[in-house]
Symmetry: C2
Subunit: 407 residues, 2 copies
């Protein structure tokens, strides 16, 4: 690796490009990019919105459609193991969020799972409490669903800044809903400490992992989280609108009382009895018939994680975002962008969000030049770094292209 140019005090383009090359050459995860299909000439920094296509998915999907559905037809519910897919894929995903088997079930959207989790949490909380604390900067759907869950369980939503959430918790707190990583700023919240604080007052925690799972260690079991939800189409690369998941900690499963007790969550669904008896374990989080095409695409997508440690992914993610910030500082004229993502590693997810004027137009121009990030209102350029398929040369090119636009 070359050092910054001594004559200017800041690295020049040649240095950064050659450093990127060296960093990629030394990157043990670089070979994982072959597990994905990415279009030529594109730097894809939007995996925090829609993950890239894992190379194994097209053949799996073709087999599911042509053979499992087209030839085996109804028999595939048993013979192709369709029926057990939600809990099987839940167990496959579980290590990525630090969950032992039997606690994660895949299906429905994040919003629907959030409703199950929040109503379930309200029913698990000590009786008589009135407050549902909700991240004031949450991704919108969480706030909308929380308002509905609170309305239907007699709780009152109290918006809180996650940084100050611990102080807001008390004897009247029934439920605490927080995002592990803020979708807009990329700020990583302190899941272990906030979960500890909630448990200390007897409140039930619900964590939204959409912007953290697959990018950094979560440690649901280790930190004593009660309930969690997340999507699978960002860092888990399950495909557009692929099914979300619900985590129900083992200690709560027997008492978890879902507001969506569909027949798939019944202890004996094909007995077709008129009374509902919930299944044991996380399976009671299932609702209706699972969408098999999307579900089995996700299962194949998760093969991209074979032999990959989340800790190694996290280390690369921080190196990538550090390097990107360094390149932005070198390439973009001072004052044109400002990072709203925390500089401290302990508070940073796997994205960098840059605030700027005319952000919508700037992002459109970046995309037209082959650098795909996204825009979030009102003024944010969002760049997600997926260590499984993004490299240091990508980070350098993205920053350099941004510099050209401002140049």
């Amino acid at each position: 690796m070359s050092d910054p140019q001594p004559t200017t005090g800041a690295p020049g383009p040649a240095d950064l490009a050659s450093r990127a090359e060296a960093l990629d050459a030394a990157d043990e995860l670089a070979k994982l990019r072959a597990r994905f299909t990415l279009p030529d000439g594109v730097v894809y920094l939007d995996g925090n919105s829609l993950g890239a296509l894992p190379a194994a998915v097209p053949d799996t999907t073709a087999d599911v459609v042509r053979r499992q559905w087209g030839e085996l037809l109804i028999r595939s519910w048993d013979e192709s193991n369709w029926w057990t897919a939600p809990e099987r894929i839940g167990d496959k995903l579980a290590p990525l969020v630090g969950a032992a088997p039997g606690q994660v079930v895949v299906g429905d959207s994040t919003s629907v799972n959030l409703f199950k989790a929040l109503v379930g949490a309200a029913r698990l909380a000590p009786p008589g409490r009135t407050q549902m604390l909700v991240d004031a900067n949450t991704f919108p759907t969480d706030g909308y669903i929380a308002a509905s869950a609170a309305r239907m369980t007699g709780l009152r939503v109290v918006p809180v800044d996650p940084a100050a959430a611990a102080q807001a918790m008390g004897e009247d707190t029934a439920v605490v809903l927080l995002n592990h990583v803020d979708y807009r700023t990329g700020r990583l919240h302190d899941l272990p400490a906030l979960t500890r604080a909630a448990r200390a007052v007897g409140a039930i925690t619900v964590w939204d992992l959409c912007h953290s799972a697959g990018a950094l260690p979560v440690g649901l079991d280790a930190h004593g989280v009660d309930l969690a939800v997340g999507c699978t189409y960002k860092y888990l690369n399950g495909g557009p609108g692929s099914p979300a998941y619900l985590y129900i900690a083992g200690r709560h499963q027997d008492a978890f009382d879902s507001p969506l007790p569909g027949w798939n969550g019944h202890a004996d669904p094909f007995a077709m009895t008129s009374g509902y008896t919930p299944a044991a374990g996380a399976v009671r989080g299932r609702v209706g018939t699972p969408d098999i095409l999307s579900m089995l695409a996700l299962e194949a997508a998760l093969d991209a994680w074979d032999g990959v440690s989340v800790e190694a992914v996290r280390a690369k993610s921080l190196a990538l975002t550090d390097f990107f910030l360094e390149c932005v500082a070198a390439y973009v004229p001072q004052g044109r962008v400002r990072s709203v993502t925390p500089a401290e590693h302990a508070h940073r997810g796997s994205q960098i969000s840059l605030s700027t004027d005319n952000a919508r137009e700037v992002m459109a121009e970046l995309i037209s030049r082959g650098v795909i990030g996204d825009f979030r209102a009102p003024d944010v350029l969002r760049f997600g770094f997926t260590p499984l398929y993004v490299g240091f040369a990508d980070a350098e090119r993205a920053a350099r292209t941004l510099g050209h636009i401002f140049g």
Copy 2:
């Protein structure tokens, strides 16, 4: 067509086989079978559980995965029109259930849509009423979800036999949930009369169309239905676990208050505001990010309906089930099976359910001989007739095979 043998008074095998051939030759819908991929040598009478694979689906799915997801990536939400799929496919499906555009939205499972519909119905009903009437013989998930919706809206579930439902309706009836066709017996309930009776007392109707849509005319608009749900993987051939749909009659849309107000149902989702403002129209029935793989497979599957009238499908369906019953009477020794499906056309859906001893084993034997129906506890052999791809020779072979098993 040949007549029954005059010497015996009942048709013999040769007659039935040749009649089947003639009926197939005269069937104007017979050519539609080419729009489906069915395995050789199989008689598929389980389209009321999982519809067959439409021939257009595999190429569409491959394109969605490889090009729309793999190459266009995040851009496909706009460029491949992913974002508007739920309402676009809702409009494509709408004519099959007799709905004008703008009232049907596709997504989630039937169970989840039922929860939206039932809670929404409770909120639309005149205040102060306490009863939710629910089909006592309903498919189980409807009963489970109804119990949850009633619990969360302060209503009380009152089980009713659909045949006697009109008499049970009164000034205290808030919501009426009925199945258009009974999943077990194939009985067709009188949607126009029951809807009229509910409206006469000011109650809100929710119809479950899972076992009727795509098999017979529904006429949601014509009969003044308030809300309806259905799946798309039976007679609509959307694929395993393909997304369900929700119908919200135009007159109720402004007041429809969903318990699942996810960001996809917001008037301006990408403004990402903290307050929820529901979108106009049926779009407010959307919740989270739609599962695009399953959704676009369904869209392609619906092309199989191009130029097909539901009335013609209904006429063939009745002819098929009549003929099947005739073949069963001729081939199966008397007393071994009993049809629990109404003989009267006005009360018959598109299936025949035969009650028999050892039904589970009989169905397994039928399947091993290439005739696929299904078993429903405790004693029912269920045979679904999908006029788009089932012919009269199929019906004859199914009955003949059943006769051999009992022979």
